[in-house]
């Protein structure tokens, strides 16, 4: 059971999701009622200048609410009062989505969080001679822009197959408020 006395400012809660696929976005389109084809049809998305389908703006939001539902033991330990997000970066198939909530302040039984959702987008893996040994969707479709590079969002790291190039950016900053029962 989560109680106010167990929580501290700066404490972090996190979930990660690695399964954003075209099939999942089709299921989300059906379940959410948002059937705009830029989320399900690559040809339509390309005509709209998007280079490929993008996740629905609110798709990622469900992982924030799930984080708090899990933290509150499905609201047995408290209630979710408010969640607010800005949608800044597109989320795409193959992205690794990391949802974090950090306690900003505690007032009585109310706990205030800063929330962020970060996407990790793999581009490609190169061998030591610079040859591409594996290319991901972002590399094939050219999702990474010069602006991403200029902003310092594109990084490299060693992986068993070679050097992985990836982009890391905050897609969804926001806030949340919960109220605990004890």
């Amino acid at each position: 059971m989560v109680k106010v006395v167990d929580l501290n400012v700066g404490q972090e809660f996190k979930n990660e999701f690695d399964g954003i696929t075209r099939e999942l976005l089709r299921s989300y389109a059906k379940a959410s009622g948002d059937t705009n084809p830029i989320h399900t049809n690559d040809a339509v998305a390309e005509r709209a200048g998007l280079k490929g389908i993008i996740a629905h703006g609110l798709f990622s939001f469900g992982f924030i609410t799930k984080l708090f539902e899990d933290l509150l033991n499905q609201e047995q330990d408290g209630k979710i009062l408010d969640i607010s997000v800005d949608m800044r970066g597109m989320v795409r198939c193959g992205d690794h989505l990391i949802t974090k909530a950090v306690i900003d302040k505690i007032e009585g039984k109310r706990v205030y969080f800063n929330v962020s959702q970060t996407t990790i987008t793999n581009v490609d893996i190169k061998d030591k001679d610079g040859n591409i040994v594996k290319q991901f969707e972002a590399g094939e479709r050219g999702y990474i822009t010069d602006k991403d590079i200029a902003k310092g969002l594109v990084h490299e790291k060693e992986v068993p197959e070679g050097i992985l190039t990836y982009r890391e950016r905050v897609a969804t900053p926001g806030t949340a408020v919960i109220e605990l029962f004890e």
Binding site: L58, G62, I80, D86
Partner: protein, 166 residues
Amino acid sequence: MDDAEIKKNAEFLIANMKGMEIPGSAKVNVRYKTLVDFAKIYGITDPKYVGPEEQGIIACHGFANHFTVKALYKLLIGMKLIQDGKERPFLLNPGRLLHAGNEYNWEGCVDLKPGDKLNITAKWGDVWLVEENMILFAKLHVDVKNQNGEFVCRPIVSAAVRPGGY
């Protein structure tokens, strides 16, 4: 549409939309299967949200996306204003609409259950223009009530419309 017309339209909307109630309402019937299908997208397995129908379930919080998006499409696409004596839709080109953000407030709200019939109404809050890119931003305050007139959720939607869309 030239820059002068875009600016004129933005000024008209800023002057006229703030506080304006959007006529009509959107209705959403909440079905058991829809709630379960929605929750399963996020890997939710707790019976409180995805259990058998006869045991009674409630909507997961993420389901607020479902009724908010449905209501937005219905209310915004149908909204009309009178500019220079002529009727015009709020959105001249719905393809220029962007969803910039959302706030969901559940304080004092009741749980959402299968069989609920939602009545959704909305009114405009702040409306402003970012002149750097001529994107028009607007806050939409939404009331979502069930068949008993009880609040289920109070979303505030941040909409952004690119030039040519307003």
